[in-house]
Symmetry: C2
Subunit: 235 residues, 2 copies
C-alpha cells in the first residue's frame, strides 16, 4: 500500500476516566500500572490503539479488557497532544469518560488488574497528565449534566429521589433544595414512580423510580436546565 511520504508516525493511546456511583458516593476507578515507565503508580485505564482499530472501538475494548465493562456510557471528550506528556515515547492520547453504576459491575472489576474505586476527592496522584484529564473530565461531566440527563447512567434501574439528589449534589459540590429539585424532575416527565420502597437508608423508606427510556432517548439532546444558575461553577 502506498503511504504518505516522509511523515512522522507516532503512538496513539486512549485513556478512560471511569466515574461510578454506588448509590451513596461518587467514585473514580483507577489501576496500578504494571509496566514501565511509572510502574506501580496509579493511572487511568488506558491502552494503545491498534493498527487497524477504530479509536472509539479501542476505548471500548480497553474498558472491556480491564474491567469487564460493556455497553456503558462512554464519550470521547478531548485529545491530549503535548509532545512530552509521556516520558517514554511520544504518545498522543484520546481521552474518554465513562459513567457506570458501580454495583452492576462490582464483581468483574475488583478481581482483575488491580483496579480500585476511589472517592473522587481522595484519589491519589496519577501519572503523566492524567490528573489534568480527570479535572477536564469532571468539568465536562458537570457541563453536560447541567443540560442533558446523563447522570442517570450512573444509577441502577431502580433508584430513589434522595439518591438522585445526592448524586447531583456530589457532582456539583453543592446543596439543592429538595422541593425545587423534585419539581424540576417531575416537569421533565422522565421518571416513573414504582410501587416499592428502598428501606435501606431510612425507616420510612423512599419510593423507587425508574427512567422512562423512550422519553429519555427522545429528550436526551434537548436542553433541559437541570442546574440553572450555574454560571461560574463550571469554568
Amino acid at each position: 500500500m502506498a503511504e504518505y511520504f516522509n511523515q512522522a508516525h507516532l503512538l496513539l493511546a486512549v485513556d478512560c476516566i471511569i466515574f461510578g456511583f454506588d448509590g451513596e458516593q461518587l467514585k473514580i476507578l483507577l489501576i496500578k500500572r504494571s509496566f514501565e515507565p511509572a510502574t506501580d503508580q496509579w493511572s487511568l485505564m488506558g491502552g494503545f490503539v491498534g493498527a487497524n482499530e477504530d479509536v472509539d472501538g479501542a476505548a471500548q475494548r480497553i474498558l472491556l479488557e480491564l474491567t469487564g465493562l460493556k455497553e456503558v456510557y462512554l464519550e470521547q471528550f478531548k485529545t491530549y497532544g503535548d509532545p512530552n506528556r509521556d516520558p517514554m515515547e511520544r504518545t498522543v492520547s484520546v481521552a474518554y469518560f465513562a459513567l457506570i453504576d458501580i454495583h452492576k459491575y462490582e464483581k468483574q472489576i475488583s478481581h482483575n488488574f488491580h483496579a480500585e474505586w476511589f472517592l473522587l476527592n481522595e484519589a491519589p496522584k496519577l501519572i503523566f497528565d492524567h490528573d489534568q484529564m480527570v479535572e477536564d473530565a469532571k468539568k465536562k461531566v458537570r457541563y453536560k449534566a447541567a443540560l442533558h440527563p446523563i447522570l442517570f447512567e450512573l444509577l441502577p434501574k431502580k433508584f430513589t429521589i434522595p439518591q438522585l439528589q445526592s448524586l447531583y449534589e456530589q457532582v456539583y459540590n453543592t446543596s439543592i433544595d429538595n422541593r425545587n429539585f423534585i419539581r424540576k424532575l417531575s416537569s421533565t416527565g422522565l421518571l416513573i414512580k414504582l410501587e416499592d420502597k428502598d428501606k435501606s437508608a431510612s425507616k420510612r423508606g423512599a419510593f423507587y423510580f425508574k427512567l422512562d427510556k423512550d422519553l429519555y432517548k427522545t429528550k436526551f439532546q434537548s436542553f433541559i436546565n437541570f442546574m440553572p444558575n450555574l454560571d461560574n461553577i463550571i469554568g
Copy 2:
C-alpha cells in the same frame, strides 16, 4: 530512547473547519488538495502532526501556513479514528474549528494555496470524512454559541446590531425578533455603543458597537442563554 514494545505507530493529522463571516454571509474556507490521493478535490485545511509537535500547535501552524491566519479563535472538538477514513494510509485526525472575520484576512488567504470561501450551504463535496467533520463542527458551533458569546469572534471590531442578528439567524437558520434580541444583548452588558454609523447597508445607517473585552473574558465561560428554546435545533 526506550520505546513501548511492539505497538503500532500511525499518522496523526489535524483538520481545521474555518468558519468566516464577511458582514453579510456565513462561509467556510476550503482548499483544493494538491497531493495524492484525491488531488484536486476540495478538502479542509489539514496537515500532519510533526514528531515533536504539540497537536494544538500543529493546528495553529497549519492555519498559519495555509492562510496566514494567526491568533484566531481555534478550538479542538473531535478526533476521528475510523481505520479506513483515509484510503492511502491509516491516519487519525484531530479536528478543530476556527472562527474568523473574513475581511481581516482577505488578502493573505485568496492568493496562497488555492483557498476559497464558500457559502455554508453551497460548499462542494469534500474528501474522506470531511463532510461529516463539517456537519459536526456546525453542530458544535451552534451548541456552544447558544451558551457562550463565541460568535463575536466572527465579527470585526466595529459591527452593527443588524449584522450581529443576521449572523445569529444564519447560524441557527431561523429568524429572530429584533426587539427581544436587542434586549437580551443589552442585558449581557457586552456591547458598547459607538458614535458613528455604518451607512453601507441602509440610508439611515446603523450604529456601530464594539465588545467590552474585559467583560467578554470574564463572562465567556458563564452560561448565557443566547438562544433559548432551541431544544431540538441542536441535535
